[in-house]
């Protein structure tokens, strides 16, 4: 029952897990097999969701591997890890990347550390993606939200100790990965501990060349404890530690010396099925990120630079679902966070004193919001949902040096910038019959400019070879989003077709400033962020999951297509071309074999101004095999496979600097569950 409800929550975008009165038995069957936007992670406990096998193609898959398979997600790739998720056409400040609902801001001025770099699938339960206004529960955004939900300890008095140990090896980068997950349970409490260690050398691309500066090393540990206060309430504490070091970014002029995240959270949940507040969740959290770029290993560095950055966030939220009254089921969320970022740069030129400047002047940001959702069940076949969100945002540069730097550019940033953000969305679900349904959604959203867009100081962008300046006077970016989904599902097949459009106003983009001289040696010019009157994005996606031959075969396919233009009809940058991923899995007893075919068309609609060039089409084939067996009381799983079987030399359009991806990559992994 619980898993069915989870899937329902995806569609209705309910922010509270648990029992929902909207989950009417008649409709449950329709969604039984639908993996709309939430991808469950297999690991410690096997996910029974049919789509999981497709999205998480092997137990060694990283968070980024899983995201790359999701139909609405693309990745901006600057290195072997630290890829930046793009939801449909939106990235950066246009989307909210959160961990268990916690706000999180990378500490790197060059976007080397999206939140996804600080998690591993072993400490996740699921990845929940909601596009456009449907994702506003996590914060104001125009592109939606990506929530990395942390795995929870299981309270199970039957089996005190359970665990998984896994170890794997990839040939292309001589990469090792070791995973450990343990769950200890007593009657009233449980503890879950998980850890990952990954290390990779420079990988070999499809031309049989070693890609210099593509190595990395990373360790992640998470501890989660849950205590059942009584039958209705529980307390959960999470600590997550992630350390990466010596991470190469071959598409950038610098690598990363270290990237470190520390996360702590305390969550209280309460369920009172018959009271006015049916269930309640309250969370307080804090996270701290330290990041340092490193150019000491690069040859021919004109001037050595130290570029550290830090980001600290503290926040809290409380969300509640009210008892349904009549046709209405109301839920609300109150959230607030404070974020402080600071990044600086020290340059060491020969025969000269060190030079110092703030690349991100210390920026304090406080954002508090109220979110209300009403789910209206009109009758058995029709359902409406309304979502409203209002945020008050405060931003201030607190250090004198940062204020002085911006005074040089003609801006007074000594005073705070205040914004009010309004987000509203309405959705309509119609169940045509027991197998076919339609979901339409439309809304208006607003988002804040990011710290880089407001206060970035001569941040070098390798893509267009320009230095970027922030613009404290930026207006909010606004979007009118519409989408239409057709969903078909029966016992063996589920199909989802989506079409969507976004009309953006005050779209934030870099524009060349002719009067300014470059800071970075060799840069072509200086750009500053500006609002352009409008831009538009349209696109379509589909996903198919088909079981046949008595469930021996599962066919999965996803398609995605996007088109974006600015107000002059010029293509927007960072728009992925048409892509299709298909997989066919054959399962027999404890064995499965899987073949995958990824095909991408060329992208010729490119933003030359942004330094983009056309990308050619490519196709790759992956093969995987998996065998599970029991040895004494242990459950063992042996996986092996080959990615990019034909050793193609290829890159995707969003890969910076046309950096070729790994060539033929053979892997093997052994895991043991007990």
């Amino acid at each position: 029952m619980k898993s069915v409800l989870k899937v329902l929550i995806l569609l209705s975008s309910l922010i509270i897990s648990g029992y929902s009165e909207a989950a009417q038995p008649v409709q449950d069957t329709i969604f039984k097999r639908l993996e709309l936007k939430e991808v469950f992670i297999q690991g410690h406990t096997q996910s029974k969701h049919p789509g999981s096998a497709f999205y998480q193609s092997s137990s060694l898959s990283s968070t980024e591997d899983i995201l790359s398979k999701i139909e609405g997600v693309s990745l901006i790739r600057r290195g072997p890890i630290g890829m930046e998720p793009v939801l449909r056409a939106f990235s950066g400040g246009q989307v909210n990347l959160v961990i268990d609902g916690m706000r999180f801001f990378g500490a790197c001025t060059d976007k080397m550390d999206p939140v996804t770099i600080y998690t591993e699938p072993v400490n996740l339960k699921s990845i929940d993606i909601k596009y456009a206004g449907d994702g506003m529960a996590m914060g104001p955004s125009i592109g939606g939200s990506l929530n990395l939900k942390l795995a929870e300890p299981t309270i199970n008095s039957e089996k005190k100790m359970t665990g998984t140990i896994a170890s794997g090896y990839y040939t292309a980068a001589a990469a090792v990965q070791n995973i450990l997950a343990l769950n200890y349970s007593s009657n009233k409490w449980a503890l879950r501990v998980s850890g990952v260690y990954r290390k990779a050398e420079n990988y070999r691309n499809g031309l049989n060349q070693k890609v210099d500066f593509s190595q990395y090393e990373k360790a992640n540990a998470s501890i989660s404890g849950k205590y059942q206060l009584n039958s209705k309430s529980s307390l959960k504490a999470d600590v997550l530690l992630d350390d990466g070091w010596n991470i190469g970014y071959p598409a950038l002029p610098m690598d990363v010396g270290f990237a470190r995240a520390r996360v702590a959270a305390l969550t209280y949940t309460h369920e009172l099925p018959n009271k006015l507040i049916k269930n309640l969740e309250a969370k307080v959290y804090a996270n701290s990120i330290r990041h340092a770029m490193d150019d000491t290993k690069r040859p021919l560095v004109p001037i050595h630079m130290d570029m550290p950055g830090k980001s600290d966030t503290q926040g809290a939220f409380v969300q509640a679902q009210l008892k349904s009254s009549g046709k209405h089921s109301l839920s609300m969320k109150l959230d607030s966070y404070h974020n402080r970022v600071k990044a600086d740069m020290t340059m060491y030129a020969s025969n000269s004193a060190p030079m110092y400047m703030l690349t991100w002047p210390t920026n304090h940001q406080i954002v508090s919001g109220l979110y209300i959702q009403d789910l209206i069940t009109l009758d058995e076949k029709n359902r409406l949902d309304f979502k409203v969100r209002l945020d008050a945002a405060f931003s201030k540069v607190s250090n004198k040096m940062g204020q002085d730097q911006f005074a040089v550019l003609g801006y007074d940033v000594s005073k705070p910038i205040n914004n009010l953000l309004k987000n509203i969305n309405a959705g309509y679900t119609h169940f045509i019959d027991s197998e076919f349904s339609i979901y339409a959604s439309s809304g208006y959203s607003e988002r804040l400019p990011t710290t880089s867009e407001r206060f970035g100081f001569y941040l070098f962008n390798r893509m267009d070879n320009h230095d970027y300046l922030g613009n404290p006077n930026l207006k909010k970016e606004q979007a009118l989003n519409t989408e239409l989904n057709f969903i078909y599902s029966n016992n063996n097949i589920s199909i989802k077709l989506s079409g969507f459009s976004s009309y953006l106003q005050n779209f934030i983009i870099g524009q060349t400033q002719s009067g300014l001289s470059v800071m970075t040696i060799g840069a072509d010019g200086v750009r500053s962020y500006n609002n352009i009157p409008s831009a538009r994005v349209i696109g379509a996606e589909s996903s198919l999951n088909y079981h046949f031959a008595n469930h021996h075969f599962i066919l999965n396919n996803t398609l995605k297509w996007l088109n974006g233009q600015d107000s002059n009809g010029k293509p927007l940058p960072l728009i992925a071309p048409f892509k299709s991923i298909s997989s066919l899995r054959f399962t027999h007893h404890h064995l499965f074999l899987q073949a995958e075919y990824e095909i991408s068309s060329a992208q010729n609609n490119v933003s030359a101004d942004f330094g983009e060039k056309s990308s050619p089409a490519f196709s790759i084939i992956n093969l995987r095999a998996n065998h599970t067996f029991n040895l004494n009381k242990y459950n063992l799983e042996l996986s092996a496979g080959v990615e990019n079987l034909l050793d193609m030399a290829y890159y995707e359009h969003l890969d910076w600097a046309k950096m070729l991806r790994p060539g033929r990559n053979i892997y093997t992994m052994l895991s043991m569950k007990f």
């Binding site: 001037i303 340059m347 030129a349 020969s350 025969n351 000269s352 004193a353 060190p354 030079m355 110092y356 400047m357 040096m401 204020q403 002085d404 730097q405 005074a407 040089v408 550019l409 003609g410 100081f457 001569y458 009067g515 300014l516 001289s517 470059v518 800071m519 040696i521």
Partner: protein
């Protein structure tokens, strides 16, 4: 750092004892970081206030070695000079 007042005074050595103020110069000032090869934006060239004193604004975008380049123009003749700062 930031925006700084810049004042320069020009006197001509007439003889060992007399240094009359020079009021007829137009001055172009360009700050530069010699080790980086870049300058800074929105500087204000010094203009005459009185008695050979010229006032303007010089902007520094970072700490380090800065060179202030000066072009002194009078009667179609240009004198170039500079001085260095470190902070």
């Amino acid at each position: 750092m930031g925006i700084n007042d810049f004042e320069i005074a020009i006197f001509k050595r007439q003889d060992m004892m007399a240094f009359p103020a020079e009021d007829n110069y137009s001055i172009t000032m360009t700050p530069e970081m010699p080790s980086m090869g870049h300058g800074s934006p929105n500087n204000v060239n010094p203009v005459l206030t009185k008695n050979g004193h010229y006032k303007g604004k010089v902007n520094f975008t970072m700490t380090g070695d800065w060179r202030i380049n000066l072009e002194l123009n009078k009667d179609g003749k240009t004198t170039k000079t500079f001085f260095d700062l470190l902070f």
